[in-house]
Symmetry: D3
Subunit: 116 residues, 6 copies
């Protein structure tokens, strides 16, 4: 939560990136009715460690997001790299086709800015 | 139509929102050939009162748009609310899956800005 | 549940239709792990009466299924008609385009066979 | 229209193929309300000769159908070949990705059966 | 390759399943021109061991196929299980939504028949 | 390549448009591993003159991109017009449905800005 202290004023690009994703989600979570809240809960839970590790599940989320050309490919890309896994993108590209190139490219660009 | 009078210069955010949607549509309608114009006409007509009320049809348009992650979810959300109906989003989210969360969330954010 | 009594041997076409849908779902529900079971529960719950009537929600499910060309369009079509609502298909067709014609047509054919 | 004369009884495989597509379409056309009928009319009209030849439009229809993995890829494949054009499939496959391989392969199989 | 010897006449269900997938692919591979053949080669290569194991890549293929509701989900399911991995389906279902339930359920049914 | 000479500083809008597309692609091409690079090569090659002219293939690319609502519709629209072909959009719109209207409209707007 923001307290308005000066040191909070200037967010790093990475924080901006996180917030860009988190803020609208928080809004819909708060305003929406029960089934939507349950869906959000399920969406978090499904990536937790279980029969498959969180690491592997991040890759699955990345590839599913690529194949469907979702809005958070850059987010999944960064999550996967922070879990120490890379190079899953080729599967998503080959399954999904050249229509996947633009969102994949932009995600690379975005991710390179944030790691830069 | 704009006449250039001063009071028209400053559009409200809501008017900007409408224009953002209407302007490119007008362009394609004007430049495109007959089948595209007929498609646009059919697209308006299908939401008119008939065997189903316009109210219900707005909901159908919202859910179809959510499921396909179209570009005008915020528009459909606002239309549906102005018709007095809300809370249809959960169906679109459950049918379409978590890939629908980002466009749904952004639509909530946009709509909340426009309603103040 | 089947008891093997003779009167159960010959299913009506309508029962076959229901079973064709229910049997694989039961299998995945039984074999799958917790998140999948929770998803199935959420999927049932979202069509229950609430802010919107079950009747309206059946239409929303039908149109979302049409727009995404799901496998159970005939099922949704029959559900909607049994709820006393019809004529939502045009929205799904116009939003989803001519690629929706084959699954819509087959759903009509299937539904007409089941209603006699 | 069928008159029941003996020579009509045994349809060639090609006629069966045509009928498999035409019969459900006729049903939906007949039962559906106005916007759906208008959509069907527009769907026929858009492939007629115009600024682009029917030949080219058949290719466009084939590639769009491939990219979306529609149900009538074999039909479009045969139409295109009868118009004397072939070899458009590669674009649809590369744009749409490996998920397009199964429907493309089945369409080849079906088409090869019908051409003998 | 088939030699026509009697012992080849009766295929197991598993062989039928493999053939159902392999035969149309072989046809398109043989008739198609170079870019399609290159695409097929790339599609095989992308699942080979590399920065990620073949095991993990089978999961990625399964989830991408689920999210896009491809035709070979049962095939990917069986491949993944033979690689010793299971339980990835929940990610594909949650990302892709309830529209994924029918193809997922049918894949479970098919796979259960083939495993006895 | 940029040499920093003054005349290079101010890019035309058309050059900006080209760069907006080319820069992220170059990044992914450079960082990605072999299968992705091969995919990019195949994606270029498939539009080259062959059994079908480059002209026709640009149209196929445009329509496939429209049907899937890809990110580079404006790019394909401009490519097609520079090849001297227009008026393919109606097929993409009718196959893909009204969900295609926003990306098509924005592509028209973008293209009209770039042609002045």
């Amino acid at each position: 939560m923001k307290t308005g202290k000066p040191e909070e004023i200037k967010m790093s690009r990475r924080e901006e990136f996180e917030e860009e994703r988190a803020r609208p989600n928080a809004l819909v979570f708060q305003e929406a009715d029960l089934p939507i809240q349950q869906f959000f809960a399920l969406d978090s839970q499904v990536y937790e460690d279980g029969a498959l590790s969180r690491k592997t599940k991040e890759l699955l989320g990345l590839v599913a997001s690529l194949a469907l050309r979702g809005d958070f490919i850059a987010y999944h890309l960064i999550q996967a790299r922070e879990q120490g896994v890379t190079k899953a993108e080729a599967v998503g590209l080959v399954v999904g086709g050249s229509i996947v190139i633009p969102p994949l490219s932009w995600a690379f660009l975005r991710a390179s800015e944030l790691w830069g």
